[in-house]
Amino acid sequence: MTQIVGVVQVKGGVGRSTIATNLAAIFSLKKPTALIDCDLPQGTSASWFAVRKLTRPSTGNLTLATARDYRELVVRARDLAAEHQYLIIDAPPRIAEMTRAIVIMSTLSLVPLGASAAEIWSTADLLPTISAAHQHRPDIDVRIVWNRFRGYTREALEISEAARKELGMGELMTRLGYRVAYSEDLARGLSVDEWQDRTAHGEIMTLAAEVMGILKEKRT
């Protein structure tokens, strides 16, 4: 059964494409995976894939698709599900039909979140959509992924604690730090596991393993 991972967040610049592209690249090492970029015309994930194609002879098990609206997304996902084990969806930064569609169709939705008030406010805007989706499909699973997290600062720890109380959402254990590797690998069409920053490499591999573990539990 095809499993869908949606990467959603209302605010822009929080790391949706970074997480989506890295998960897609790592998942595709194991199983056929499609990355669907719904954040058009920006198309960060699509651009990443284009650069990747230029710099390597083959993209292996990884396919790219784009969707301009939620109806196109549903058709694309349905078609891609025939040939792919995983669909990774990079959502647009707004609450609209597309975000609702992604939340309701995903096996697991990831919400990248930095430890800043602005990002927590924007995530609070997402809560009614999650609540409505949950009423409709009780098994939806939406979890925060802490990104650009500076765990050594008191501010980050305090804000993340406040967010936990305020948002009441589950979260992944893996936290991504504030690292140059994440933006550089995106520009080079690489995934972080192909880049030289060993800490970033470890974080991303741990994230992918945690997400795969959750998906595996849902298959059984």
Partner: protein, 100 residues
């Protein structure tokens, strides 16, 4: 002897496309919307909504993209008559298109 490779089976998507489109467009599900309105309406009329084969047999699902005010009018009419939105649409269709 080596095992022959078998083609992997076609994988089913994990979602109902019509339901995804409906939820994405309105934030409501078909089942909740129609059922809840009909139940509430039937209750208001002192009765219980008729369900089961007589209501749903031979029906085909159809997704519609309607203006919010039209949806509100359909919902209000269904509530007033103690029927489902589907039944209201059917009756209107019979009434206005049945002649031709």
């Amino acid at each position: 002897m080596t095992r022959t490779k078998t083609k992997s089976p076609v994988r089913k998507p994990v979602f109902d496309a019509d339901e995804v489109i409906r939820f994405a467009a309105t934030g409501e599900s078909r089942t909740e919307n129609v059922g809840a309105v009909a139940d509430a309406a039937a209750e208001a009329h002192g009765g219980k909504r008729k369900t089961g084969k007589s209501l749903d047999a031979n029906r085909i699902g159809l997704s519609l993209m309607l203006l919010p005010e039209i949806v509100a009018r359909l919902r209000a009419e269904a509530e007033r008559k103690g029927k489902t939105i589907d039944q209201v649409v059917e009756k209107l269709t019979h009434k206005h298109l049945g002649k031709h």
